[in-house]
Amino acid sequence: MIQDLLTNKKYLFASGANTELRAQRNMNRRAVLLNGALVGNVRTEQFGVSARVYENGVYGFSSTAEYTDETVKDVLKAASENAAFLAKHAGKGKGPHKAMAPNRIVTAYDLTDVEQRTYIEFAQALDNYIAGKYPDLVSRTVVVMGDSMEKLLCVSNGCDGHSILPRSYIYVMMTAMGADGKPVELYKVVGGGYGTFDQNYSKPEDCFDEIDGLYDRIQQKAKDGVYPDAGNKTVILGGILSGMLAHEAVGHTVEADLVIGGSVAGPCLHKRVGSDLVNLVDYAHTAFGKPTPLPIYVDDEGTAATDAVLIRDGILVGYMNSRESAERFSMAPTGNARAFLFSDEPLIRMRNTAVLPGTSKLEDMIASIDDGYYLLDTNNGQADTTGEFMFGVTFGYEIKKGKLARPLLDTTISGVAFDMLKTVDMISDEMIWASSGMCGKKQPMPVGMGGPAIKCRVTIGGR
């Protein structure tokens, strides 16, 4: 665990300014097998310390890869000088952030640093299984990885903290030859989530059912896949896609820094943005009585993390904030300011963003559609600050007369979030979480996202 060289430097914090010191270690272990060849075998670590100082409405920041008593003092001095430079030339006449009760939240513990051999052997076992059982595949890739982020935080105003966020996942990608002679692809995250690799995976055999399921889907797609008819259609978005909707199309527009930058959510606060059925929350550490996929207890500004309720019964009721933006919007900060590396400054980021489940049964939702689509898997999602979104869809089915019909080839769906959410007329009572990806916004960041199946209207690309 990171040694505390920070707390005894509090005497150096300038009065009248907000100061944060953060020591951080990011680790990543990864093995990649492509058609049986080990093309990736890497262990990386990034460790260092940073300081951020808020003065006269602007921030100064500095970081270094050395972590000693002297370098902690050095980054603090450099951050203070940077804040002073910017305050002199572009200060906003603001005082320090509102005072918060001091506290210290510790969730860090000693992690097992799983040996590289374990990752490689696990990947080889899965690859051998796929190669032996499914020799007709054009290509197969197995990625086995674990990463973690340990942060020691010391602030002049608010919560100090010591946290750790380990994740581990297995990704399996398959390519099969389609009926038209063109390759088709699918990938799946097999198991995994919060925790080290040895906590999440015990033996390769436990993954075989999910791998078989992936092969079954790619065979359906390769043999019988069809392109959907382009146009505005009634669809059911499965939980993976509704989670992506919650994150990409709604979540980013209600990050307060993007609201200040002109996102569509600015003029929509306290207005209807979805049907009565739609509720959306960015959870901190607990949801539905269980830990969230990636629990956050304190953010990197020293704010104790609480849930950010964003849409309630179809009305936009809040944003995700830093301490500075919360003051601007007269909202309570909820602990969304997060940094990826020691050398990154905290930005407003999502944590575990989800559409809340409803009361409908999935089978009833399918039965209610005469001509539409059930969309299940995605490989990509992008959205605009206008709320216009685009998701790649890699697997799904036609729905004809209330029943699932032919599987789909790759397509794209698009829409405008706050228009599309108003068309939601059924939401299933079960939800799916995902946490294997990285959100990109100046810095990458691990995030959780989730949702139930939702019935709505979107534009589907066809071909």
Binding site: V39, E45, F47, N82, E115, I120, P183, D384, T412
Partner: protein, 433 residues
């Protein structure tokens, strides 16, 4: 600093050999960043970063392992050498792993190695003021302007020893147009420069991008579906070609066997007017890589030359495994040769089509099929650029597209990373709601 890094890289190579590796490589760097940030149209942050990186790779009996971290003291090097050999020991042997043989070692100095911070801040203030004056409907969601000084050294067990000391200025803008409650899509634009002699707004396509976005506040969709011409703006072409070259000419598509070009080296794959180069040494590229990650001296090369597939974009491992020539650099400094018509003439020749500034699409399939939303785009009708579009999708196939070239513009945009013209492709499916 450079001499220290060279010695550190050699020490890391020696440590790996002492630990028992047959072939070894080390890359060491020290980076100092000075960065100003603007958020929501106001200065928000000034940061200075001091970072180190050490990557050590060992090949032992054909087994390869890599360990990377941001420290390079003696103890870390010794521990990393051990960890690297342990990682390699678990791998299966593959005789295709290797590093570059020794050639002529060299010390490179590129760009503006030290920042002029006061002048950099002045250029930032000037840019903000100019945008406010010339493009009053633009909100600068984020502006990041930085100088990066990078000292790096690379050594391997064959005797390769390169160093580079480089510095450049980077500008990244994210902005949107606003009029009351109406807003355009956001747009990102950037440049890399090796001097502060000119205002940022005169560089790359920043001014044109800001002007276009200001025209995109009022948008409408297209009705139905039609086949037309897609004119891709230079800023959008880079991301499209990145997908194309990675999937068709890169290691992923070739090692997996899914690339449609896997058997087409030397054959025609595109219209004969198309030449696509990767050229980090071109004078319009700022601080392009002088060496590859595997220790080769970088050289410019054409991937597509007058429509023929001239080379693949392969590293040494993939080259050895596939028995194909390796790519002569590992940059993505794409240069597309200019055409023979001004963009105005190309637009004037199009009856119905779309001018695309940004493509928001799913990952193109390995067979080249793509489908996505045309963002920051305009309708082209009867030879004229018309209204700005929203909720408009474009789809097609990248391999087909290269053979349906209508024209390439004489104009090119150089942003320090790429040099790209406008390109017009026929036969693209364009659809609305």
């Amino acid at each position: 600093m450079i001499e220290t890094l060279k010695k550190t890289a050699q020490a890391a190579v020696a440590a790996l050999q002492d630990a028992g590796a047959d072939k070894t490589q080390a890359n060491v760097s020290y980076t100092v960043t000075h960065e100003f940030n603007v958020d929501g149209g106001e200065f928000s942050l000034f940061r200075t970063l001091f970072d180190k990186q050490l990557a050590m790779t060992a090949i032992e009996g054909g087994k390869k392992g890599t360990v990377a971290q941001n420290r390079y003291d003696e103890k870390t090097i010794a521990e990393s050498a051990k960890a690297c050999l342990e990682a390699a020991a678990s791998a299966q042997p593959d005789e295709n792993w290797d590093f570059a043989p020794v050639s002529q070692n060299e010390d490179f100095v590129l760009g503006q190695v030290k920042p002029d911070t006061d002048r950099l801040f002045f250029r930032c203030q000037e840019l903000m003021a100019s945008v406010k004056e010339r493009f009053p409907k633009i909100i600068m969601e984020q502006m990041i302007v930085a100088h990066k000084e990078i000292c790096k050294a690379q050594a391997n067990s064959y005797g390769v020893l390169f160093s580079t000391h480089e510095g450049c200025y980077e500008v990244q803008l994210m902005f949107s147009g606003h009029d009351g409650d109406k807003a355009s899509s956001f747009f990102g634009s950037g440049v890399i420069a090796d001097s502060l002699d000119r205002p940022f707004l005169e560089m790359g396509s920043l001014a044109e991008d800001l002007e276009n976005v200001q025209k995109q506040i009022e948008t409408t969709g297209v009705s139905g579906k039609f086949e037309g011409t897609m004119v891709v703006m230079p800023g959008c072409l880079g991301s499209l070609f990145y997908s194309l070259l990675s999937d068709f000419a890169g290691e992923g598509g070739l090692l997996s066997g899914t690339s449609p070009w896997k058997d087409k080296l030397g054959e025609k794959v595109a219209d004969e007017r198309i030449t696509i180069s990767l050229a980090p040494l071109d004078e319009r590229i700022v601080c392009g890589n002088r060496t590859t990650g595997e220790g080769f001296r970088a050289e410019d090369f054409d991937i597509i030359q007058n429509g023929k597939l001239n080379a693949f974009y392969l590293g040494l491992y993939a080259s050895n495994k596939l028995k194909l020539p390796r790519g002569k650099n590992d940059s993505f400094n794409v240069i597309v040769a200019p055409g023979d018509k001004p963009i105005a003439d190309i637009i004037a020749s199009i009856d119905k089509g779309i001018l695309v500034g940004r493509f928001s699409g799913g990952q193109p399939a390995s067979n080249g099929d793509f489908s996505g939303v045309a963002k920051n785009s305009f309708l082209i009708e009867n030879g004229k650029i018309g209204r700005a579009l929203s909720e408009t999708m474009v789809s097609g196939n990248m391999a087909d597209m290269l053979n349906r070239l209508r024209a390439i513009s004489t104009e090119q945009v150089a942003d320090g990373m790429t040099v790209l013209p406008y390109m017009a492709f026929d036969g693209i499916t364009i659809s609305g709601k």
